[in-house]
Symmetry: C2
Subunit: 338 residues, 2 copies
Amino acid sequence: MENVNLKTIADKLHLSTATVSKALRDSHEISNETKQRVLHLASVLNYVPNPYASSLRKRVSKTIAIVIPEVDDSFFAEAINGIEAIVQGKGYHVLIYLTHESFEKEKAIFMDFQSGRVDGVLLSVSAETVSTHHISNLQSHQIPIVVFDRICDEISTAKVCTDDYNAGYTATKHLIDNGYRKIAYLSISKTLSISGKRMKGYSQALTDNNIPVKEAYIVECTLNDEYNNAVIRNLLQSKSRPDAIIASVERLTTNIYLVCQHLQLKIPKDIAVISFSNLKTAAILNPSLTTITQPAYEMGKTAASLLFKSIEKKSFPLDTVVQLFPSVLIPRDSTIKK
Amino acid sequence: MENVNLKTIADKLHLSTATVSKALRDSHEISNETKQRVLHLASVLNYVPNPYASSLRKRVSKTIAIVIPEVDDSFFAEAINGIEAIVQGKGYHVLIYLTHESFEKEKAIFMDFQSGRVDGVLLSVSAETVSTHHISNLQSHQIPIVVFDRICDEISTAKVCTDDYNAGYTATKHLIDNGYRKIAYLSISKTLSISGKRMKGYSQALTDNNIPVKEAYIVECTLNDEYNNAVIRNLLQSKSRPDAIIASVERLTTNIYLVCQHLQLKIPKDIAVISFSNLKTAAILNPSLTTITQPAYEMGKTAASLLFKSIEKKSFPLDTVVQLFPSVLIPRDSTIKK
């Protein structure tokens, strides 16, 4: 099939391309009769306007981007569904970009956005992100950004997140209340704000209950499963083995359970486990997993709604909005009373 | 920050925009000295070429799209990682589009692609997709497409998939060998080719072992968890309750386990379960889950490699390639011998 463009239509109707273009844009300069001839032929030939040409004129791509570290995480999968629930019906496309926790990749993606490829961005920063220059740079191009879940306090825009400090505190307090005292904390990044806040809640809960914070019980994990298994094995084979673990991200659950299987440690008898997680399989794990669960779907919906408010009305003050959603502790067998 | 464009640079250097444009494209018409002045200023001003304008000239978006039904599935999460492993270093962007199993959404996305937004497409069709006109239409616009996992036999292009018939046969044979005879099959779509092929393998294995294929044991599920729980509960409360279930997609595993918990049925004593699944938690479920697992990462890599062959060399004959990857049965506790 040949490419149908303005010229194809113009040639067939013996009109100029300018006239065809104006007719398609419903210009008052063109007669109704001509408009109808053009629209009819455009429809018959299955003419699709070139959005690049159209974007050059209108600077509207009718596209929003979701920039997230990974999709292999139930929180993001659910949040995406929440976002799409809002975008549905707005006539927008949703593009998902993955940073794989790389700051370089995040910067490259944002650089690309400067050219007007998208009308707005929903962002959850990578674990490596240490500065926000790429973000403010894009904002200066009048492209609105809303951050969700993994926010950066320094960014001046709307933030949709959970109360990570409280969630970390609640998780730790739950373990203490159930008789656990030697509580380890697995983080994935020292720079990531959610990780830092969750850990502060953990430290404070220990301190409030007269339990010293032990350096050896705070372990930094990565995206590499083999590395994670090794450091967890190390932790569980150490002389002063913890009696409970808090996993600050979902993906570490499988690592912990598998290492315990391998070392023949029973959960929760030998070691209790609680994880920040939206895993659908939490209730059918062996044993069922106590989780701190975020309202991912609602957070996605709220972030997308805020973004569209700004897209539709440039004066909407994004920078004053902070939406905090409480997370929920769902107690299951992995942390039952000692 | 003001928008830096060709005119900004031209004005500051007292050149025409045409000269600046040619200098940036390294045209032989422009002197080296002028080129260096232009490039220097472009760098100082942080000039980003407009890809829309550039696309209009070159018809190259340096972008490929992945069109899949959902991300809340370990197969697709792993396949995306495989695809990105190939795209990495090619200087391309990857956009992920979700159809949420809707044929209408899939068609709308493909319509949008006709305008040159992407240079190539990796597709896994929705459960609802019943015709392939939207796909051949895009192919006629010279945009290469590779289908993976959920293929359509009718599409004339490269196909990367697993041997779904054999996998269905192997899963069924495994259950029969372990003493199960009343085997139910949960599908998610009658039109989806992988679902149909897996079911044919199931039927054939039953027939080869003199077990009649029972209509009541073939149950169609949806994307709705409540609906799925209801039909599975129905199946497990029927007079002639099956003694084994094959789940043709990963997402049904949680439904089956939860319904069994609720009905106090023990897996595998009361009912064995095997699932097509790449779930990382398969080994830590209660009980651990026997799976048919696809080499998702490798399939993603292969699909992306084929697509780039076609993008880089228009004459590469995509339509003759079919890459079949064997799936692997991983036996665990959910199907142990009766």
